[in-house]
Symmetry: C2
Subunit: 319 residues, 2 copies
């Protein structure tokens, strides 16, 4: 089958990969549409030493399922963390923190930039009929955006700042605006600003951030600059949510202590709430789509996506 292979930080389009064989409890899924994410770019940059098929955002169709033949033909999205179910974290109801986990296209499990992938049946969540493939492919990042509210209570009277209006920043903004909170988003590029404006979300420039005036700041850039802006924007005893992929970076820890700031690291979320918001049309991610490329054009898609201000790039498996 066709697939996008990552090895030694080199991406290649291959046609010599075998269709995978599902393990016990797994299904074979035909990928319909996949999305490129910042984590994919980071993996190419060597953030984590992954070798195999890249990609973790997808919508697909179950084509083989020995343990549940009635599910063949189901249109599905897939939770990317595959848990052992037996370790301390699994038993503590934290499957996304399973010590033995594999993660689709990230840790020890071939990913979604391919014609087919395998995932356990329990990871595959049916997509409601009214949710198009173009929306469903955003389930994974939308779930990650909602994980913020799973970890931190955002109150209607909170003043909230999102730093970064890229792919994830836009989705976070669309979920946080639903809380009724007083929301501002730092957006650098005109396209990002227009998109926020279309959703009636207030955007500002970096230099206009009010200092120490936000109850909660979401850092969605993954950069030292973004983190330092967050430290300046958050009020005493406020919360900064770290919602990106970070390298080691130098930070001003004294102001975290002096201002008694709380930092919350946030990663993957549950798919069900994300699908509910898509089904109820409370979030519409399709305006984020910058372009679609055929899987065979993935390397060009990555080049295109590295331009500043480009939002979501999708990969389709058929012409």
């Amino acid at each position: 089958m066709q697939a996008i292979w990552l090895q030694n930080q080199q991406l290649s389009y291959r046609t010599d990969i075998s269709v995978p064989t599902p393990a016990n409890g797994e299904a074979l899924v035909k990928v319909l549409l996949a999305g490129i994410c910042a984590t994919d770019l980071q993996l190419i940059n060597g953030y984590y030493p992954y070798t195999g098929i890249l990609g973790h955002e997808f919508v697909g169709e179950i084509v083989q399922a020995i343990d549940a033949p009635e599910r063949i033909g189901e249109r599905v999205v897939g939770e990317i963390n595959v848990a052992c179910g037996k370790c301390a974290n699994c038993l503590n109801n934290q499957p996304t923190h399973c010590i033995q986990r594999t993660v689709l296209g990230i840790i020890n499990r071939h990913g979604a930039f391919a014609e087919y992938l395998c995932l356990p049946l329990k990871n595959l969540i049916p997509v409601p009929t009214s949710v198009s493939n173009e929306k469903a492919v955003f389930t994974e990042p939308l779930a990650a955006a909602l994980q913020i509210q799973q970890q931190v209570a955002i109150r209607p009277n909170h003043k909230v700042l999102i730093i970064g209006a890229g792919r994830l920043g836009q989705l976070i903004a669309q979920t946080l605006v639903l809380t009724g909170c007083d929301l501002q988003v730092v957006a650098r590029y005109e396209q990002q600003q227009q998109l926020l404006q279309a959703h009636k979300i207030a955007w500002i420039l970096e230099q206009d951030i009010e200092k120490h005036n936000f109850n909660i700041v979401i850092e969605a850039t993954g950069s030292t600059t973004g983190f330092n802006l967050a430290i300046q924007a958050v009020q005493s005893r406020g919360i900064i949510v770290l919602k990106s992929t970070y390298r080691d970076m130098s930070a001003n820890f004294s102001s975290i202590v002096i201002n008694e700031i709380t930092l919350v690291g946030s990663r993957c979320g549950s798919f069900a709430p994300a699908l509910r918001l898509l089904e109820n049309k409370l979030v519409d991610p399709t305006s984020l789509i910058a372009d679609k490329f055929h899987l065979s054009q993935t390397l060009q898609a990555f080049e295109y996506m590295r331009q500043p201000g480009i939002l979501k790039v999708l990969l389709q498996m058929e012409n």
Copy 2:
């Protein structure tokens, strides 16, 4: 009067300082005993550009109080943050985060390493008769230790690790052991280990820290080494409390996000709970006293205190 003066990171013993005049609402306090803290060492190292009389841990006696003459003769300890009562943080019941605050011996307010100091009457808390000066002088750091539990709920079944068994680490250990939690303290020096043992608190060496196995880790060293140990020790979705004075340091932010760790900066606490624990003999800090020096010998006291493993050094005003 005699006082210890800090200027351009140089400490000097002076006898030419005038006895201060209390402002409206303030009292004049004769200092009986004062304690040297890590923050004093950091101020000398240039952590914050302070000029004036150093020192913020003390017990004293009110000798002048125009607005409350009935309080003259009271033995008191003093909350070190002097708040304006009018700014957003003060109105939000966060006086320790007052935007205009002065802080005894730290920010724009002469400190306690002197014969006399001034503080607002409302900052001065009476010391119960049964609490000796040697105990009362620990009220401020003990309040800082208790601030951890003001911010983070420590449950009886939590596994808790304290990294650092110095002055503050020992006080934190004595407060956390009262929760019944499963507590371990990383202690490098024999004297620290013996002190913990005397309080029936389990100590371990750095190399024996169980990885990713603690619900809550208290970082009380202020060092990059300590912080990295904390990151390794805390479990997924666990909490690291930053309880020290930090410089800028480089940290592994990716593991904070991947393991969804929460970092909580923690500073000053309320004095009343600290005095209750001292009065009820639930905490006994006197075993931490390494030595006492006369105020005129403060420079030698600082030299003595820079030796590794030395715990609390006190300054007395009379021979």
